[in-house]
């Protein structure tokens, strides 16, 4: 089922064939012509299959299959037949003769590729021929790639073949980097070249400690290359995508970020810096008063996906009432044989306790910039601002400004107003992608709020912030109270991460369901006024929230039917729907 960018002259998967209205006469003439063509085609196909069946591996086989492949290079079985012929001839012919035959094959392939430069079969066959030929001329192949890339600088088959040639013939990668520079200079709008650069730089100038694995000084110079391109044509997306990569962030180092112990739920929750799967290279263990605890780690929702949050339900009486306990959690990383531990004390009078890893402010969601990087980013921002004054409505410029401001100032203290203005403008000039911009804005806002908080803050206010979605809910695992009212939320599925949550305000959002809240088992107060909840079944989700006492549902379509409130109340004995009065009123 998976073919892309076919360039067939003749087949069913035709891209770009224009439908033309023809007369009956023309149609008849075409039909006859096709009938004739079909006869030739069928006879040819049959002859090739017959020869193959008879194991006649000879030049005639090449000739017959070649006639058909010349027209349609996607008859994959015929390429296979040609390979069988060459393999058979390898032992039967002199080397010089073989060299000649395979050289002819290369010429034949060039002819095929000129007609169909995007034939998977033809390009792969060329790799086979180059491996089979007694004296391969790789220099000529590189030249051929140049020729084909001059005809179509985006032909990804040819770029792939080029990389194959470079690898086989040990072409100096610096020369390849120069080639991409040349290509980019002749046409900035050359995504394939930018892409190749992103692959070459980490090999030529590696630095595994850097987020994008390239030496910083080299990377900073790349900003200049991009700047040339974007000032020449600010609407060209290739350079902008590349620039986003330069601003990239690396994978976080694995560590334990937070441990929460709950006495009454007899449960421990662990937050890690990146998603892992227990048992697959990673293993968490817990001991209480130096005795290892048996138990199975699970994700919060029981999902089988990799997760940053892991939960263990302790055996009964692991944390008896009124007794001090010292708890140690250890994470083992098999691959790097590393071990992280976090120890904490649960005092006799405590219901819960937690430990949080220290993070430098502003570094939780962003990579810390070096002094050189900071100054480059600042210069970059200056010139992009210049560009913005020339191109006030260019979405790429606006988005890049946003990313630069975010990189320089992860807490949004300096640029808060400018960021907000840029987001608003972006959504207005590029309405097709406004949902993307709103989500990105929500992400940045949540990051700035979380960065500015001390991690011990357990009461989070995110009301009236224009949030369209939630990010980083795993970092809110300790939060007991959150106000998300007056936003544009459509889903609260990820709130399941908030394992300590007691009070939740979701008033004035766009929720039609409450999926996810089933896992917030500590919840006591919930307000979902003025959402789009239509039926009573939605509240079934709350059945597991056994501590839920107060629920406000006014202003939802579901309240239109009086009976419904009674039905919701029936969820659990202690539950009170507090706005009963309002809803009837």
């Amino acid at each position: 089922m998976v073919w892309f960018e076919h360039y067939f002259g003749l087949c069913i998967v035709q891209h770009g064939r224009i439908k033309v209205k023809t007369t009956a006469e023309q149609q008849e003439a075409k039909r006859k012509e096709r009938e004739k063509k079909l006869k030739i085609y069928n006879a040819g196909t049959e002859a090739v299959f017959q020869k193959r069946k008879n194991k006649e591996f000879d030049e005639e086989g090449l000739k017959l299959s070649g006639e058909l492949l010349g027209v349609n290079p996607d008859i994959y079985s015929f390429w296979n037949f040609r390979r069988e012929i060459f393999i058979d001839l390898q032992d039967k012919r002199e080397e010089a003769e073989l060299q000649k035959l395979l050289q002819d094959e290369l010429h034949f392939l060039e002819a095929c590729l000129k007609v169909n430069p995007k034939s998977y079969g033809a390009w792969h066959h060329r790799c086979f021929v180059m491996d089979a030929i007694p004296e391969p001329d790789w220099g000529r192949e590189l030249h051929l790639c140049n020729t084909f890339l001059n005809l179509d600088e985006r032909n990804f088959h040819c770029w792939d073949y080029r990389r194959h040639v470079v690898l086989r013939s040990n072409v100096n990668l610096d020369e390849e980097l120069q080639y991409t520079t040349q290509k980019i200079q002749s046409n900035f709008s050359n995504y394939s070249s930018w892409h190749y650069r992103s692959k070459l730089l980490p090999v030529i100038h590696p630095d595994s400690s850097h987020p994008v694995a390239v030496q910083e000084d080299v990377l900073l110079k790349e900003f200049e290359v991009v700047q040339n391109a974007v000032f020449t044509d600010p609407d060209d997306q290739s350079a902008w995508f590349y620039q986003r990569w330069l601003l990239g962030r690396g994978q976080k180092k694995l560590q334990i970020c937070c441990v929460h112990v709950s006495r009454d739920l007899q449960r421990i929750v662990v937050l890690l810096s990146r998603p892992v799967m227990m048992g697959q290279g990673h293993c968490l263990t817990v001991s209480i008063d130096t005795t290892p605890v048996a138990g199975k780690w699970r994700t919060i929702t029981g999902s089988r996906m990799y997760s940053t949050l892991w939960v263990i339900d302790l055996p009964d009486q692991s944390l008896p009432v009124d007794k001090q306990a010292s708890i140690a959690v250890t994470l083992m990383d098999d691959r790097y044989c590393t071990k992280f531990s976090e120890g904490l004390q649960l005092m006799p009078d405590q219901e819960e306790t937690w430990a949080v890893a220290e993070f430098k402010q502003g570094s939780r969601f962003s990579t810390e910039l070096s002094a050189a990087a900071t100054s480059t980013m600042a210069q970059e921002l200056e010139s992009i601002r210049e560009l913005q004054s020339l191109e006030p409505n260019n979405k790429w410029v606006l988005l890049t400004m946003i990313h630069l401001m975010k990189a320089i100032d992860p807490e949004h203290t300096k640029y808060a107003a400018e960021l907000e203005e840029s987001f608003n403008k972006l959504a207005a000039v590029d309405t097709m992608r406004k949902s993307y911009y709103w989500d990105l804005r929500s992400k940045f806002l949540i990051e700035s709020v979380l960065e500015s908080h001390d991690s011990k803050v357990r009461d989070v206010k995110l009301c009236q912030r224009g949030l369209s979605c939630l990010y980083h809910t795993d970092w809110m695992v300790l939060v007991t109270s959150i106000d998300l009212s007056q936003n544009y939320l459509k889903s609260v599925r990820s709130l399941s991460d908030l394992q300590c949550l007691r009070s939740l305000n979701l008033d004035n959002n766009q929720l039609a369901d409450l999926q996810g809240l089933a896992f917030c088992r500590r919840l006591t107060d919930l307000s979902v006024k003025n959402n789009s909840i239509c039926n009573v079944e939605v509240f079934e989700e709350l059945r597991t929230c056994v501590f839920l006492k107060k629920l406000s549902v006014a202003g939802n379509p579901v309240c239109a039917i009086e009976d419904n409130v009674t039905k919701i109340c029936a969820l659990n004995k202690s539950l009170q729907v507090v706005d009963e009065q309002d809803s009837i009123g």
Partner: protein, 397 residues
């Protein structure tokens, strides 16, 4: 800033088309074009559709320039384009497609017959008319295409390949009839093609491509036999094909391409490894595939094509970002690609239809929420009810 008085050079069109052919339109009759400094500038209007209308309808399959003179490859959809879904016509088109066994096009596409059948049968099932197809004939054909090694070929006489093995297993799953072939041997065949680095050959001739990783994983999971391969290295290989833009290519080092992204994202979804994806970065790249016409392309600076309504949209669905594109505009684009005379969907408005684009057009509309079509599974490109029946439940982002 680039400033020139002449139009930028011609870009290679998908196909050129002589103006004097079957049209009485002369160049002077083209609607006036906007000024170069204006928002859009359309030139080289060489594609036309139908002369049935009172005034000829032109579809501009060509060069739209933005204010800086940068060409944007896109089409312009005329107001007269089809706006409603012609499901019954598409059913009739597919039903009659396979019946023309002596037809030229049918015969010369024998080398991909198995996939062709999968496209046709799947879209018929999604439109609720699978019963119009000759089930027994299909199943018998598939049986005949299984080889000694266990692999399945595109057609009788052709060689086995992973692409067609997956298509065959997809068809058999549609019919709930996987036992029609030797399943053990299929599993053995797929397993035999895995390499030490986790990648897959497409067949014994050694072409490596992430498409084949998807074929292997999709095929085995439909058979409930993912255990037969080394899933960890499969995933590792796919992850090495990830690029600076969050997308994926054919092999390590290859440029991102929406079709390839679909295969890699699908492989990661089936194996429960979607956490490797940077959904924000990839989602951004994918939603930037949407062009002013509403259609989606497969790579930057390429023409829109209905099949990307599948490769791009399904990937977005899997990573939970389908709302990042403009659904209404895409729907309008797909509907404009229908042929109201013959039924079927083409790559771009006014082009010739085929079963491939018909399937992906209909699947795209299903993902966009069209309720007259069955819900489609974004990973397998098969009806959701069929995937449920096969006992498969995947977690998406």
């Amino acid at each position: 800033m680039k400033e020139s008085s002449v139009l930028p050079p011609r870009i290679e069109p998908a196909y050129s088309f002589p103006l004097n052919c079957s049209t009485n339109l002369a160049k002077g009759k083209f609607p006036p074009v906007c000024n170069r400094r204006g928002k859009m500038h359309v030139c080289n209007p060489c594609y036309l559709v139908s002369e049935d209308h009172a005034s000829p309808v032109l579809l501009w399959d060509a060069y739209v320039f933005n204010s800086k003179g940068t060409p944007i490859k896109d089409v312009v959809i005329p107001d007269s384009a089809q706006k409603s879904l012609l499901l019954q016509k598409h059913c009739d088109y597919i039903a009659s497609y396979g019946s023309k066994k002596d037809d030229y096009e049918y015969c010369i596409t024998e080398y991909l017959r198995m996939s062709g059948m999968y496209w046709g049968l799947t879209v018929m099932d999604l439109m609720g008319q699978l019963n119009r197809m000759d089930k027994d004939q299909v199943l018998q054909f598939i049986q005949q295409c299984q080889h000694e090694c266990g692999g399945i070929s595109a057609s009788i006489g052709h060689d086995p390949h992973l692409l067609y093995t997956l298509s065959a297993i997809q068809i058999l799953t549609l019919y709930d009839a996987v036992d029609m072939v030797n399943v053990e041997k299929v599993v053995e065949y797929v397993r035999s093609l895995q390499q030490d680095d986790g990648s897959f050959y497409g067949d014994k001739w050694g072409e490596v491509d992430t498409r084949f990783s998807f074929c292997a994983v999709a095929c085995l999971s439909l058979l409930g036999r993912l255990d037969a391969i080394d899933v960890d290295t499969t995933v590792e290989f796919v992850v090495t094909c990830m690029n600076f833009d969050g997308g994926f290519g054919c092999r390590p080092g290859s440029e991102s391409h929406a079709g390839q992204i679909y295969c890699c994202v699908g492989t990661l979804a089936i194996t429960g490894n979607l956490h490797h994806i940077n959904a924000d970065l990839l989602g951004w790249w994918l939603c930037e595939r949407q062009l002013p016409s509403g259609g989606l392309n497969g790579r930057p600076e390429k023409m829109p094509d209905v099949c990307y309504s599948w490769w791009v949209l399904a990937s977005l669905k899997i990573i939970g970002k389908i709302h990042w594109i403009d659904k209404e505009k895409l729907e309008k684009f797909i509907l404009a690609c229908q042929d109201e005379e013959t039924g079927g969907v083409s790559d771009r408005p006014g082009n010739i239809v085929d079963p491939f684009h018909t399937l992906f057009g209909v699947c795209g509309l299903s993902l966009l929420g069209n309720e007259t079509i069955k819900p489609v599974n974004p990973v397998y490109c098969m009806p959701e009810d069929v995937i449920q029946r096969a006992g498969i439940r995947l977690e998406l982002l």
